[in-house]
Assembly symmetry: C2
Homo-oligomer: 380 residues x 2
């Protein structure tokens, strides 16, 4: 089988509002982050399957004949997409020699690649190909880099199998898929996420697939039809943190002071809902300074709330102070306790302010990108 | 009539938790601040009545004969203590020449003095005396300096008339009154507060009279029976602010974002109730580090909430940061928007930390006192 070459990309994700509160049954808003992961699929004719992941120094090739031996473990329950094929995962772990313990990013990327490749091609004619992936996203920073990778893998392989069309018309530079195709991409990307993360929420792959903004509530993910594109600064403090430890810390604090903490979660919930309302208004009426004023106010309030629930960090306070000194408003995004912050830029924020702010943040030792949120999802 | 000399004192007040929220029907905790106002009453034999207020550069004497002319305006409805005698106030304003507009602190202090003096002595034998008042409290900083003054005036004059006893036994250094006497002092002090402030809540004079801690909810003031004495730093940023403007700002913010703000007020309410519970526990079980940990946590959370409701100020952020750098926890107290902050000191906070913190705060241009909260009220 020969496949057509293709180039697909998927965005990262940021949590605009509702991180942590979502664990306690409140609304969260996840947005696409226009730092993208790109995947190029190229057909080969030498019977090899290769993967190049320069961001994580991973370059591996296998003979098709080796991979074919693994297909005997494939169960044929394709409709049962909710669950991973545990037998296949086990065999793949043996195949790449990581039978026990946690996977490093290289091993988990390879495992996700092989799982989706074999699941989609294993029962038929297996193509010889090279997949090369590079990304603008830092890994392990809570920005959905693994999901963007899984989404790209799923989209490229589904195109290659013909399960979904290549939506690109000749005269177009980029193309996107219809709703049904996106759902198929998303469900395969979710398999990849499960291999990489164990028990993911499904938000990251949904944002990578649909882009724009998603409302996430009690496990249900609803893509919002229209949102404006917002300019932001994304700052990575590079302070390492454990999401698991932070989630546990919030839970402990709620258990210790429920009468104080539960209203704070309710307020965060209302922030997410108010933000969604304002963003929706911005798509159907002229955008004014007032819209931005409210968005800034919501960011400030939520940042205080996140400090209250115990997931702040001095490095994030610094991000807020440095940007506030230039009239900009920031909050942590994701797990907190370090990690990343987002800063809203107004349409009138000029490049002097922007460059100065980015310099100040970099002088603190942080990485900083000017990008946007709310942009398109997975595209060809 | 000759009066016995006496020396009385009353504490200032600070709001521990619940400022602003109390305006919206939530619990507030007011505590006595051991920066005190002292009043010395000395009998004279030259037929003069004099008042010396060195803190506000006010030194005035009247002939008893002048003051006697004013007593013809006295209504005889002594039982009607809830309302000011409007006719007397009008005549007194004419007498001291401040018939229209707002009163400065000197004029309002004189007016309160004359009102209480004439109300208590005017229908009988009027004594010739000198009242001298000095205070450790800054004026106009929201620390109840005017209430402490009114409480001292009421206590000294009520002692002089014999309406309440001089509680001091010969072998005692200081003495206090019984509940009924305190209620009488408080009601006269409230009259003084009305003259000075127009429409006071009654909290400041109640704290000045009872000391310790008061629970204030929906206009009802309940003195708490026992509270521990807590060491604090009190910092006056000296940033001027208008309580009226700040109260209006909070109201606007609640009206604009009710679903976000009302839960925050609920959380503040729970902070006050939790704090009251912890302080009560501290009086009936051994005080541990955990008690202080929770008190610190409540301070931090409330400071975030006060920022959320819009009454923070960069100067107050600085107080928090400067003290946090030494492991201490601070919040604004009172109206916010500048004004004062309180910092909790732990039993183990050593004098090096203390002196260093005070130096840092003074280097910012702030006034700073080491004092305590929860101490005794009005005493002889």
């Amino acid at each position: 089988m020969e496949v057509r070459d293709c180039l697909v990309s998927a965005p990262g994700k940021a949590i605009l509002h509702g991180e942590h509160a979502v664990v306690h049954g409140k609304v969260a808003l996840a947005v696409s982050l226009n730092l993208r992961t790109y995947l190029q699929l190229k057909a080969r004719s030498d019977g090899k399957v290769c993967i190049n992941l320069p961001n994580i120094d991973t370059f591996v090739c296998w003979e098709l004949s080796e991979l074919k031996q693994l297909t005997s473990f494939l169960s044929d329950k394709k409709e049962e997409m909710q669950r991973l094929d545990a037998e296949l995962v086990k065999r793949l772990r043996e195949f790449i020699g990581v039978t026990n313990g946690n996977l490093d990013s290289s091993a988990s990327a390879i495992l996700a690649f092989l799982y989706i490749y074999l699941s989609l091609f294993g029962s038929g004619d297996m193509p010889s190909l090279t997949v090369s992936v590079w990304s603008e996203l830092p890994t392990g920073a809570g920005l959905g880099s693994s999901a963007a990778y899984s989404v790209c893998l799923a989209a490229a392989f589904l195109c290659a199998t013909g399960n979904i069309p290549t939506p690109l018309k000749e005269w177009e530079q980029t193309g996107r898929w219809c709703q049904e195709d996106l759902e198929l991409i998303n469900s395969w990307a979710f398999q990849g996420e499960k291999i990489i993360h164990g028990n993911p929420s499904g938000v990251d792959n949904a944002v990578g697939t649909w882009g724009g903004m998603l409302r996430f509530l009690a496990g249900k993910i609803i893509p919002l039809s229209r949102v404006p594109l917002l300019r932001i600064l994304l700052t990575n403090t590079k302070v390492p943190r454990s999401t698991k430890v932070l989630v546990a810390r919030v839970k402990d604090k709620i258990n210790k002071l429920p009468s104080i903490m539960i209203p704070v979660l309710d307020s965060v919930d209302a922030i997410s809902c108010t933000c969604e309302k304002v963003l929706t208004e911005m798509t159907c009426e002229p955008i004014t300074g007032d819209h931005y004023n409210i968005l800034e106010e919501l960011i400030d309030i939520n940042q205080h709330h996140l400090n209250v629930i115990g997931v702040g960090h001095p490095s994030l306070d610094t991000v807020c102070q440095v940007t506030a000194a230039r009239g900009l408003h920031s909050k942590l995004t994701g797990a907190g306790g370090g990690g990343c912050g987002i800063t809203l830029l107004r349409p009138e924020t000029d490049s002097t302010t922007l460059q100065g702010t980015m310099k100040d943040l970099r002088d603190c030792g942080y990485d900083c990108w000017e990008t946007s949120i709310g942009g398109p999802g997975d595209s060809v």
